[in-house]
Amino acid sequence: MSSFLYELNANTSVATITLNRPERLNALMFETYKDLRDTFVRLDTEPGVRAIVITGAGRAFCSGGDVEDIIGALLGRDLEALHDFTRLTCDLILAMRRCRQPIVGALNGTVAGAGAVIAAACDIRIAAESAKIAFLFTKVGLSGADMGAAWLLPRLVGAGLAAEILLTGDFVEAKRAYEIGLKRAPSPSSWRVGRRWRSA
């Protein structure tokens, strides 16, 4: 679990996952998807856990798959190996949705690509004013439908806005994300979330 921190507060029963590669804007590596998936599978039945917060260390929540570790490494792989990877990323989202504990996304700074879909798979999103969200898959030559984005997003913001957000891949700033219901009321900083969720 080198790329994220895990902490369970025994008093609040809130487990906190902190993506922790701040120097790379918390870009995900292959093991991160797998470790996160396994963590959500485990937390589904973990005694003493009543809610989960996922957040990012430093100035980003998550900038998506690492440009070299993931994207560079995927180039040249055969279809079977690519499919293994996309299935793994989708398994992470499925584990988040199947997990019985509510998941709160405490979003800060850049929330992009896989990071945006992870945010969309949370039950509640609370964002710092710095948060900007982009489902940027079309900008890297892929379908906007990645990790279940084309299933999750229309159910959060409606079909029209979901189409716009996925087709363009453009960043949605915090203020607009709030207006369209993609996240909860603006919060000056995301670190207070743990405190708020003591009652969860």
């Binding site: 499919h83 900008k139 890297v140 892929l142 084309a150 299933w151 229309p154 979901a162 189409a163």
Partner: protein, 50 residues
């Protein structure tokens, strides 16, 4: 591809939608546009998609 996914997935359950996206996206990762995006990013220029 994005529009087709939005249309198709409106009436799918999550698990089926995820399987669909995993399959389509894996195929697109073999496409030259994905490689071009990576090259352009490293060269700090706009990608030229076909």
């Amino acid at each position: 591809m994005t529009k087709q996914a939005l249309e198709a997935e409106a009436s799918l359950d999550l698990e089926t939608a995820l399987a669909y996206e995993a399959e389509v996206q894996a195929r697109l990762m073999q496409d030259s546009n994905f490689r071009e995006a990576h090259i352009a990013f490293r060269a700090k220029r706009e990608p030229k998609f076909t």
